[in-house]
Assembly symmetry: C2
Homo-oligomer: 193 residues x 2
Amino acid sequence: MANIIITISREYGSGGREIGKKLAERLGIDFYDKEIITMLAKESGLSEETIHNWAEKEVSGFFYGINAARGIIPIPDRIFSARRKVLNELADKGSCVIVGSCGDYILKDRENLKKFFIYAPKELRAKRAKEVYGDDLAAYPNMIKRKDEERRDYYNHFTSYRFGDYKNYDACINSAIGIDKVVDLIEYYVKQD
Amino acid sequence: MANIIITISREYGSGGREIGKKLAERLGIDFYDKEIITMLAKESGLSEETIHNWAEKEVSGFFYGINAARGIIPIPDRIFSARRKVLNELADKGSCVIVGSCGDYILKDRENLKKFFIYAPKELRAKRAKEVYGDDLAAYPNMIKRKDEERRDYYNHFTSYRFGDYKNYDACINSAIGIDKVVDLIEYYVKQD
């Protein structure tokens, strides 16, 4: 298989991270997810905790305006600049799978790029959030909705795309079929190409 | 393979019809596309020409209101009622591939349903429209846009879904990879399931 960059964009709780990890193992290529946080911290000069807390938050409205007027670059903008640099460095290193991080947008001009979007019905995502991440939605019934909005707003703010617009992907796959089957399918896709 | 109903929804010029036809051949199951027009004519009492002309047109606004007020069921509504009946009859007969016709929505409650959405970049769709359908876009530069709007408006009017919303599909596939490869991929998907 020739050099390939695979980006996995995903709805919260759809299993995109696990799919990306298993896919990278199958293909024997690098997988980047949480490592990116460490690299972003190094690149931006911010702490890993700050990166984590601000990872999917955009600053808008009043305080954004105040900061801009005072010549202060807002933290999310600093993180996004670092994201551009880090993701391009990773893609230059060789074949890999990158989950999230607006990778589909940042790396969009690379010829060897394949972009997938993973989604799932809300009830399955809530179940997964509880089982895998330990996020108990009984206490936060609107969490999926809030996470969806946060992810969408961040993506729409920093890219010229719309979150979840099929046009930006090679394929969008509903993970209700099962995590391993989605991995099979993407593996089949990239090997067939 | 157990009994299966496959619906192919698609953007104009994306090759969805050819994909559906080839897929049905591969799987050895029935394929319905233009036959549906004949069946709709029989069911609705309208001519095939009328069905063809109104196939993706919704009536809205002033004349819709006038007709409704006079107790006249608008032609698109008569066609959609016939569509419900015809598609359910076809699905009852056994495994098949149905292209378009809001099949994904009309048959949404069937357990053995797999729903795919096919799309492609505009420039590829324009190329295909010219080569395969003989629609020369040089004379009608906005045709793709108009066809997209017509298909979207029809679908959004008659269903409770939004056209092209990934949430309504098992997978959405960009046919830029090649028609035969999309067929391979869907065949792999349904056999794996």
